[in-house]
Amino acid sequence: MLPFRKSRGVGRLITAGALGDPLFQWFSTVVAFGVIGLLVVITVILSLAASESIRAFGLGFLTGAVWNPVPPLVFGSLPFVYGTLVTSALALLFGVPISIGIAIFLSELSPPWLRIPLTYVVELLAAVPSVVYGLWGIFVLGPVMRASVEPVVQGIFGFLPIFQGNPIGTDKFTAGVILAIMIIPTISAVSREALLAVPENQREAALSLGATRWETTRLAVLRYARAGIFGAVILGLGRAVGETMAVTMTIGNRNAISVSLFDQGQTIASWIANNFLNATDPLELSALIELGLVLMLMSLVINIFARLMLGRVLRRGEGSA
């Protein structure tokens, strides 16, 4: 196939690039701007729809603890923000150590023949849809939590307020554990890249000073990759905050702030999923969309923060025209 073809007139101008180049550049630019236009449309539509609620409640929306759909209509997002923060914190608490362990194993310790299959398998965790995790949470993890794990935890730590109450397996604790499982692939993959980006001379220098394998990893590699790992954790947090289905199927759907992890709760995403079609009053629909904007902003801030951390680590690719 030859790049030049016999052509006439406009066709020739296009194939010769005089017309084709600017045309193609213009076309791809228009499409790219169109995609941003879509973002503008999203922002405009959601902001307009939420404006009624924003005007009605102002900043009180963020601090209000009551969601009351009957007159007097009062909508506050605090129980949902609380639920989101608690379940995400749990997800990080359980997910981060495991993810970093996996990242260390895959980048530093694993024998080569095990590395690639194991990487694929960990990635498989990310391929499972959220609703399937929810299904597993209802019928497998929930009963295990109720029958075994939560009573044991309550037995040991029951003096703490966060482990009091009646554990039934459908609660913030279970939701947090499932979220932890779901964010492990994200955090471990990005952490692994951060660890791989550590120059070999760092390890060599530590080893030459007589450090053991573990000391090398801890002092030379982990410390160097600190920013990247932190960025990975924040990315995982961003993912946890937006997770909907697995959470709504395991958290118990209770719009109240309670201290105990064994109590039911509600996150922003699960409340919107549950209640969005139910809002009979236009103000409630507006409030739900405002809640969606709050979630979007949370996610955005978290991810910008993560990318700042990861900027140096993830920038790669040699070919730029």
């Binding site: 999203i42 299904l135 492990i184 079609l277 739900l288 996610s299 955005l300």
Partner: protein, 270 residues
Amino acid sequence: MNLGAFFCVVIALIPLGSLLFEATVRGIRSISPGFFALTTANGGIGNAIQGTLILIGLTAAIALPVGILTGIYLAEYGKNRVGAAIRFFVDVMTQIPSIVVGIFAFSLLLELGAIGIVSSRLVFSTTTGVIALSTIMIPFVARTSEEALRLVPISTRESALALGIPRYRAILRVVLPSASSAVITGALLGIARVGGETAPLLMTCLGSGYWFEGLDQPCESLPHTIYVFALGPDSALNQAAWGASLILVLMMLGIAIASRVVIRLRAGTR
């Protein structure tokens, strides 16, 4: 420490193993020819599979060209401040939670219906679902395509241009094919991601117990069926949810494996 790190791997694999095990054991019991031939109204998932295929087919048809073109723009023409801004905003779009995309699509169609441009009845339809899923897939494919194109060495571009072919031809006939495996992988991953989404479909496609009725009618989908079947009291439907999950996970796995195969094919013939 070796043991500790390995232990972490094992802990992470336990839920995955349990999930795949349960999905297989519980799901296999539902699998029968009838399972695929019957609609969800009769305990099967045929219309759900059909709905998911149509949704991801239409979404891919829209999102792949738009996303790849945007990726080309970002990689080839986006080296300036404008390109950096667009890249930033495309990144922002990839981070929008899928439930928010769902309420956007719903609100958009509701607004259009209220103004009178379309019928309000279109709010709950396949079209709205495709709009939502495309909004998720386009920025994802744009970023993966851009990353893929960036991996192509400068030398490839330079040698093409040195031979005198126009830039756009260099991109389409030389650079894009070189990056094809990564671009295809990104496309496949985007399709897998969108195929498993439930939240945006709750308020757009709604659901249906019938075979696909049209782009202006609600439609069923595999993730939505799993959600509905899982929550009900009927143990036969709970089991059908496991069967549907097995099918869905197999589809996701199939796509993940396909993308690996594509990379291997590409790498193997280099």
